[in-house]
Symmetry: C2
Subunit: 219 residues, 2 copies
């Protein structure tokens, strides 16, 4: 085997391992929430020796930030495809497209609050810069597609709507996914559960209101 | 000293200590953020022996949840006083009152996301129930005051506006308070900083849009 062949083989093995670790993290986060992800759990689930993981990721934060980056691109592609170069779409159609595509990605919804809270600032400057670059590309593509598909939203109004969508989803997703103590309390006091757990209807109503209110107030 | 006198004195000493611990936690959270609060740091700042703190709080979560409870009541009182039994107020006046009173309480803004993420589910069922009772009383008083002061918002529209306000504030506050890595990145790439750091203008514009959009869509 030549040096070039050996390098190629080792590069491909490394990519395979990186992919295995990301898949394991995705599975743990989907089953038990992003908070349950630890490097030790991920390494064990991927069948690697505990000491091996550091060759691929410096920290849990770096691993989760890479998942968030993938999720940004996937949400952007799905929403742009859903709007399908439409034009003159009414507010309701835009609101449904935004709400349904983001809620179809529960891992993204869960990661959203962890990004500013601990992930972006838990990695190196270069890694944070790469995340910002990818996520802003995805964000900009979404804003362009929404503004161009909508009958009424300007580009700056579409920016406000997507920025509000991130905030509404990040917070309301956490509220709608209580741990065991809260879940028990919601059984005991149904009104509290009703306020917390109607994520789908609640989010789509808020996003619809944001679109209606933003198009009314932005020239 | 009688038994009753001794009990009264010990009860008052306990209240004093509890207050000292809450003050110390408030100070640490205000200076360094809620994430910097640990029982050890709070105990040291309050001048107590490390082993003493457990007589007053079972955990950091219990202590922070008590601060959040105080903040809910304080925000509710401030906003109700600001609306001052007004009526027929336009959307802009309501939006300013909501935005300014919540941003005047940075500890509340910071705590908001930690409540569903780790605080409510990190305490006993009884303690969580007490938090829910107090925070819903404050929430309900705010919704009543907003609906009654507004020229256009029904009670259910006011509920949607306040629920969105909590989400928008919880997320955007964290984004607007980056750690050192992100702060450095925002200096290097001003556009990213511009999107993240304009909390005041951004929040008041979103809340105004929510009010305009909700009053338009709710009968």
């Amino acid at each position: 085997m030549t040096v070039t062949q050996r390098r190629a083989r080792s590069e491909s093995a490394k990519q395979q391992r990186t992919g295995d670790l990301l898949d394991a993290a995705r599975l743990i986060a989907s089953n038990d929430g992003v908070r349950a992800v630890t490097l030790a759990a991920v390494t064990q689930a991927a069948g690697l020796h505990p000491s091996a993981v550091r060759r691929y990721f410096d920290s849990k934060e770096e691993l989760l930030l890479e998942l968030a980056e993938h999720e940004w691109s996937a949400w952007s592609s799905a929403l742009v495809a859903r709007l399908d170069n439409g034009s003159d779409l009414p507010a309701d159609a835009i609101a449904s497209a935004v709400t349904e595509t983001i809620l179809a990605r529960p891992l993204f919804c869960d990661l959203l609050i962890h990004v500013p809270l601990s992930l972006e600032d838990g990695v190196s400057l270069d890694r944070a810069r790469q995340y910002k670059t990818t996520s802003f590309e995805a964000y900009d593509a979404i804003v362009r597609a929404v503004a161009s598909a909508s009958a009424t939203l300007t580009s700056s109004a579409a920016t406000d709507v997507i920025s509000a969508t991130l905030a509404l989803t990040a917070y309301k997703w956490q509220v709608a996914h209580p741990g065991p103590i809260l879940a028990e309390l919601y059984d005991l006091v149904p009104r509290w559960g009703h306020v917390a757990l109607n994520l789908d209807a609640d989010l789509s109503r808020s996003i619809r209101a944001m679109i209606a209110g933003t198009q009314g107030s932005t020239p």
